[in-house]
Amino acid sequence: MRYDVAVVGGGPAGLAAAAEAVRGDARVAIVDAGPRLGGQYWRHRAGSEPAELRRARSTADHLPNSPVWFAEPGPGLGFRLHTPGGPVRADRIVLATGAHDRCLPFPGWTLPGVVTVGGAQALLKGHGVLVGRRVAVAGAGPFLLAVAAGLAEAGATVVGVFEAGRLRGYAGHPRALSPAKLVEGGHYARVLARHRVPYRRGHVVVAAHGGEAVEAITVASGNRRRRVEVDALAISYGFTPQLELAVALGCDTRLDVDGSLVVSVDDDQRTSVPGVFAAGEVTGVGGSVLAQLEGVVAGRAVTGQPGDPRVLRQRQHARRFAAAMHDVHRPPAWIEQLADDTLVCRCEEVPYRTLRQAVELGATDTRAAKLLSRAGMGWCQGRTCGPAVACLTAHLNGRAPTAADHATFANRPLAQPVRLGDLAEPATPSE
């Protein structure tokens, strides 16, 4: 089957793009890695689809369980997206591949029971399982509030939400705040208050303790430190966009205000590669509202429909809010937390010491540091440690991280793990 438009990713951005493209009379496919539409944001259990997701649906073809492991131009015009179920061909594509939790290393972060904030959310919303009975939620960003509120409502004792940012910031960005955002934040604040969950600004989890699993954490605020008993810690510092396909296709990238590598797009969500559009977290982390607006813009542009001035204004406003959010929820001075033996790369078990030795041996850029230390060369291919290793390599070289440092880990010829049999499969004659 050949499509006019293939949208990669079935989250808020992808669904919005697909719906607009369908309105533009295009034959549209949503190619999604998950078993159900919704992405990370509308993650749900089978049979309990959120109302918002139902409204976002369209008549586009849905290809579930189809992680795209390689994207290439041609043959001829258009593109070919390789999935475990075979190639999908399309004249134009919209990349809406989303993001995953941004992790920063600290002593004890590899203990079982320490999970990402998104991981705790996925366990609860996707599978109905509480991550722990006594849970701390920590890191930076508004997402902590949503997840802590959900855990508390589901019966966990949330011992605290520890937000690294100081949050006096939002007062400095009055133009970025919309009533909708305030209402949403207020809702979570009320839930947390009802469950007597303390919300601590300027607090950082600097260590996790335990043997076979986490038993306690150390929380620092300025010079004060205290130990808190927990059986689970959910911790992340914002999100890392999933750029593999964009980079594989040759799309230009840039560093965003939160330090993430993102896809560069123009006002119509066009990337630098003709026929390739991008929307949502891949173009800059900004949450579901911005993702949907970008999806609408991309879906119209990819089918040649004129931009809707109202949507363009709303997108501008949502982008201002995202910039304010990143300014307020800054990661802490996390490099100071590292001990010599703190693992930086979980997969290859590379301690901070080894990364430093790599730099002492002459690794001035992240690619060299990776090759010398093996950080980012394991199972996850640097998806988890990449942002931290890029920042650490730059820090150890006495400079700020660059787009090239971060691109080291976005540059993966195969975007998803793939079986050798799928790689060896010849293209089917029918396509």
Binding site: L123, G128, E212
Partner: protein, 79 residues
């Protein structure tokens, strides 16, 4: 629904991932690391980090957070 983990029966709800079912059963780790022999289990929960690898019906390297339980699955710790 029931599957076995290292020979022991574990209950699961339809649609649950292996990781979620193990977690609900009180299991926090199901793998030891190669170098430091550290316990590992669920971390990212969405298929990104590969910490939760298990052997499912003889096939190694499966991400427990992505694989939905099927009745009678035989699950073993990743060697």
């Amino acid at each position: 629904m029931t599957f076995t983990f290292d020979g022991r029966p574990v209950a699961a709800e339809p649609g649950q991932s292996l990781a979620a079912a193990l977690w609900a059963d009180g299991v926090r780790s199901w793998r030891r690391t190669r170098h430091n022999d550290e316990p590992r289990g669920l971390f990212c929960g969405i298929g990104v980090c590969f910490d939760c690898l298990v052997v499912v019906n003889g096939v190694a390297g499966q991400r427990a957070c992505l694989v939905e339980v099927r009745d009678g699955d035989v699950v073993q710790a990743q060697p």
